[in-house]
Symmetry: C2
């Protein structure tokens, strides 16, 4: 027994495929791999660890011999299937929003709040991708002072909407360049050479679901339940990796920028990209496929003595989703919370 | 004599061509039209007012029989040629940054500060396009309370870099979709399906030239020389029309949203696009080619009791450039500051 019996639910999606890459790249200890997807995708063959795996449709006994299940098939599927996986004895790392805000479910970014996972944790939630990019940037600054307020405007890529939205951006763009009218199918608006407010329902406060998730999850992960935070989520015609324009206010005067830069440079999972002379700052194209969140445009907010400004780009499919989930599993392995169970 | 002798400097550029359209659309009273451009573009023929006009290279006598000259050929050309035009007796409306911050040069958005033009004004500066979209959104809110601070993140289109940048976005995108590597020529970075911090020099405060212009020009136009304002300018792969995510803080409690909505609805040049149920908010594709600046996502900033948030899109070539300049000229006609001079 050289490793774990792993299941990936949503294996054929954009995040699912990233899981397969990361399992190989990071040599996650896998004994067996079970790929699960909707009946539409069942029967497909996906390569991983040097062999082909047939994608299975989920069923009542899908998780019978599974040690850890990574879920990335949307909140409804997680709500439906995660209880089966837990009942069958698997640890669940869920990439959906289904359980994130449940008080007894740890919502974890391993670099930030690994302590949220306790010895009895069996279901761990992976945060929203936009929240992860934001918090990877913000959390290291806590050594610089007490954070009082966060203001964020996002530049979110097609990958956040999965493989279908990436295809939509591509096909619409081809149509426009061919002189044809783009036909929105997956998104409600023209996407080619356009941008739009994140297409999730708007609540009574005027915030869309994505913005609300980021606000709630940031408070939970930073363990600052009253943290004032204001998020505007915008979808831009970028293929992969989310970017964010961030203003952070501290209690009292803003920390000096050398301290901020040092805190970010020392933070695992963060890479400072901040070269004013070359006009080189974080860009999604350089964040795509990378593990690190890129942070730059480090400067004082000249409109407030307590505030600084930053710009960040992070791969939404990697650190924003599959990488963070694998890191959660690795952390549990390190802490002996993912035992090699006796095999039947 | 039915109208004015008009010159357009930079006639072949993206803004120049918009001038020609607007002169027709708005029936600006033109007796004669002189199109001026660099020697590279001289000799081209452009259509306007039902006939073809040959583009001339600028010379010492270019402005001898000109009543009003619209400049849109960059700051260096304005610095070189505007003095000749003024000396020849023309009124100059300059779309470049050359003279905007000179204390005796009015910097004008007609809906906001028409009074800045005095009886003796002969050179009027047209503000930066990003500043215009911002201020069209912000200025109407002054009836709701005293503005204390503005925070802006922009989503700027290719049109802000002129026809060359629009072509670059298109050609790079074609290359990417053909599986080829995009080759940056006009911009320093990959532009197709990417975004980047505005590619102007960064000053000692860490702000690029575009951000600095918006901050300075906003203070001048609003006549609030100490107004705290913080701008982050980002170039996104959108063809035309700039968008902005805006947070406005007021003295005391934020105005109620009905008051904000009414103020924006009543503002000339602004159209409220704010339909949460349909998830329909300002988008550059709907602002492109339009005169109005679209404003929506009107909501409280839940991170601060004094603040509200907005999202705006405005056509950078129209209200952001050519339209505003024509409106300045129309205002001067109305106020008899653009006399029909005796012809030689």
């Amino acid at each position: 027994m050289s490793g774990y019996r792993v299941a990936i639910v949503g294996a054929t999606g954009a995040v699912g495929r990233e899981f397969l890459k990361l399992i190989e790249e990071r040599s996650f200890p896998v004994e067996s791999l079970k790929l699960i997807a909707s009946n539409r995708s069942a029967g497909q063959e996906l390569e991983c660890l040097g062999r082909s795996h047939r994608v299975e449709e989920s069923g009542a006994s899908s998780f019978d011999s599974v040690d850890i299940a990574f879920f990335s098939a949307g909140a409804a599927r997680s709500r439906e299937l995660a209880p089966h996986a837990l009942k069958a004895g698997a640890i669940v790392v869920d990439n959906s929003s289904a359980f994130r805000m449940e008080p007894d479910v740890p919502l974890v970014i391993p670099e930030i709040n690994p302590h949220a996972i306790t010895d009895s944790s069996r279901l761990i939630a992976n945060p929203n991708c936009t929240a992860i990019v934001l918090l990877m940037t913000i959390a290291p600054l806590r050594v610089c002072g007490r954070i009082r307020r966060i203001i964020v405007s996002t530049y979110q890529s097609a990958s956040g909407g999965g493989a279908a939205m990436m295809q939509e951006l591509e096909s619409q763009t081809r149509a426009v360049l061919a002189g044809e009218g783009p036909v929105p199918r997956v998104v409600p608006h023209v996407y080619a050479f356009n941008l739009f407010s994140h297409n999730t329902p708007i609540n009574e406060h005027g915030y869309n679901e994505e913005e609300w998730k980021v606000m709630q999850e940031a408070r939970k992960i930073l363990e600052l339940p009253e943290l004032p935070i204001n998020v505007t989520c915008i979808r831009v015609p970028v293929m992969r990796a989310h970017s964010e324009s961030i203003t952070v206010e501290f209690e009292g005067d803003a920390p000096d920028l050398a301290t901020v830069r040092a805190a970010l440079s020392n933070a695992p999972g963060v890479r400072v990209v901040d070269d004013p002379r070359a006009n080189h700052f974080p860009m999604p194209i350089e964040a795509a496929g990378q593990d690190d969140v890129l942070v730059g445009r480090i400067r004082r907010d000249l409109s407030h003595p307590s505030a600084i400004c930053l710009f960040a780009s992070g791969d939404q499919l990697r650190k924003g989703a599959a990488l963070n989930a694998i890191q959660i599993a690795e952390l549990m392995v390190q802490r002996n919370l993912l035992p090699l169970r006796a095999r039947a």
